[in-house]
């Protein structure tokens, strides 16, 4: 069939590009970790090292707190935007888009200015005589969490605006007619309709926070290593490629796991709606 041949020809360049330059290198990277000599042993000894365990738990903890923080902070904000007039909403979306498109170095540098030893926060605290010595905020887990929340806040908000806007107002009105107060309506009517968006948004942000590099590098530095900064350190600074590959595999597994969870959730919920 001629048509089939043409469509294959159209698909081939990008397909080959991705398989050759992405999938192949990644497989080459993880295969030795999974099937290499004494691979199990190395992998488990990596996991057993307290230093590594600390980093893994820190990474998970940071991502978890970031996600929770984002849920709490972004949801009302998205709600606020969703309830604006169309024009205002468009404008606000642009305002949110701007930081999203701004270089991560810039965004994190801004937080260095704020959280640093002579930064805005410390200056304020000392001027107000709340503290007499600069507080150490930069290069702590807290700084990373703050930076990540700032980084992902626009992402989370944009993910929530559309679902909130497209909520069917008449369902809410029907509930009000049947005597449900505003709070009941919010928790029993509005929130359940947004569960999918909240969950998928959270997972996306969680995975993003687990694998982000620039923020933990700039705001955590070497004193607060996470998996991604550990990967860079092991490979480029220490030259321990085996360890780096193990970290890489761990990061891939995290990303794929969150993808599958998202798929399952969206499938189950959309499937449930059809019934």
């Amino acid at each position: 069939m001629k048509d089939r041949r043409i469509s294959v020809a159209l698909l081939l360049p990008s397909l080959v590009g991705i398989i050759l330059f992405l999938i192949f290198p990644v497989v080459q990277l993880v295969l030795p970790v999974i099937f290499g000599v004494k691979s199990n042993e190395t992998y488990f000894s990596f996991l057993k090292a307290t230093y590594n365990q600390q980093i893994i738990f820190r990474t998970i903890g940071i991502a978890f707190v970031t996600t929770l923080g984002l849920l709490v902070l972004a949801f009302p904000f998205a709600f606020w935007i969703a309830h604006q007039r169309m024009k205002v909403r468009k404008l606000l979306s642009l305002v949110i888009l701007f930081p999203m498109l701004t270089n991560a170095v810039v965004r994190n540098f801004a937080w260095i200015l704020i959280l640093g030893r002579n930064g805005l926060v410390n200056t304020l605290l000392m001027d107000l005589h709340i503290v007499h010595q600069p507080v150490r905020i930069l290069y702590t887990n807290t700084a990373i969490v703050i930076g990540l929340i700032y980084l992902f806040f626009p992402v989370m908000v944009t993910m929530l605006i559309d679902p909130i806007v497209s909520l069917d107002q008449s369902i809410d009105e029907a509930a009000a007619m049947s005597g449900a107060g505003p709070l009941t309506r919010f928790f029993k009517i509005t929130l359940p309709q947004l569960t999918t968006s909240l969950l998928t948004g959270s997972i996306l942000v969680f995975a993003g926070a687990m694998t982000a590099y620039t923020t933990p590098q700039l705001l955590g530095g070497n004193s607060s290593l996470v998996l991604s900064t550990l990967l860079y350190q092991q490979s480029m600074t220490l030259g321990d490629w085996r360890a780096a590959s193990i970290v890489a595999l761990t990061l891939i597994l995290i990303a794929l796991a969150s993808l599958s969870i998202t798929k399952v959730i969206t499938k189950r919920i959309s499937g449930g709606n059809e019934v």
Partner: protein
């Protein structure tokens, strides 16, 4: 139309808006301070840090290289990705989902891992020079944008218009260039800009693939920050923000911004 807004929510909205923009404003403000160490409140007013950017060879060459790499990679991604999208949306391919997953796989694998993998197998493994590998990495970053944004556009583009063109005597190829392309050129430009911004700003992949002979702007700033803490970084940041603004303005003029948000959502950011 909508239910009445609570004043607390409104207050919260403005507060968060402020918190979102304040850090960036702070960067702008500090770029004008005359003291070498950044302290608050800033003192004096100067433009010397902007002048200082030009005396940092890494920033200047970094800007040029980053620009060139971003343009090349975005262009490549569009040239290679567009036919694929056309095939996926027009040729009734079996298992189109499967192809879609492959094309979007660069977003599924953490960028830092992509950088490491490319470095290990292409630079160390088969001894390719850094530059082509770097462009490859940025090309991989851009492909998902092309696939997503263009698929959305082509699905909206009425196929009977193409059929009308075929029946008017234009072959499929002619139709593609004379009817399809002119109608999606705004989207293509928006895609190009998105890919450009994303590539220009990228750090995780770039980090592994730059070197003494290959300076990229974001990593150059990162390096500079390790040894210095002066308003030069603020000044560069302002330039980068202006660049972002310019790109957004361009996209808005192309009417391409409307859908950008959705596509950004799908991707965690470094």
């Amino acid at each position: 139309m909508r239910q009445k807004k609570h004043w607390l929510l409104t207050l919260y909205g403005y507060l968060m808006l402020l918190l979102l923009l304040l850090p960036l404003v702070l960067v702008v403000v500090t770029s004008f301070g005359s003291q070498a160490a950044i302290t608050f409140p800033i003192k004096g007013f100067t433009l010397k840090w902007y002048a200082n950017i030009l005396s940092q060879p890494d920033f200047v060459t970094g800007f040029k290289t980053s620009f060139a790499v971003a343009v090349t990679a975005s262009f490549l991604a569009i040239v290679v990705g567009t036919p694929a999208v056309y095939a996926l949306t027009r040729c009734g391919i079996h298992h189109a989902n499967w192809f879609q997953t492959v094309f979007l796989s660069p977003t599924l694998i953490p960028e830092i891992v992509i950088g490491f993998a490319l470095f290990q197998s292409l630079v160390i493994g088969i001894k390719l020079p850094l530059m082509p590998v770097l462009i490859t990495g940025h090309f991989l970053l851009s492909v998902p944008y092309v696939i997503r944004m263009l698929t959305a556009r082509l699905l909206l583009f009425d196929q009977t218009i193409e059929e009308a063109s075929w029946l008017s005597g234009a072959s499929k190829i002619k139709t593609f260039f004379r009817v399809v392309i002119p109608n999606i050129s705004g989207t293509l430009l928006a895609i190009f800009i998105m890919c450009f911004i994303n590539s220009f700003n990228n750090i995780p992949i770039t980090l592994f693939l730059n070197g003494p002979s290959l300076t990229m702007l974001p990593t150059a700033i990162l390096n500079y920050l390790q040894n210095n803490y002066d308003p030069t970084v603020s000044a560069v940041s302002v330039i980068l923000m202006l660049l972002t603004g310019l790109m957004m303005w361009l996209m808005e003029r192309m009417n391409g911004l409307t859908h950008v948000n959705e596509h950004l959502n799908q991707k965690g950011q470094n």
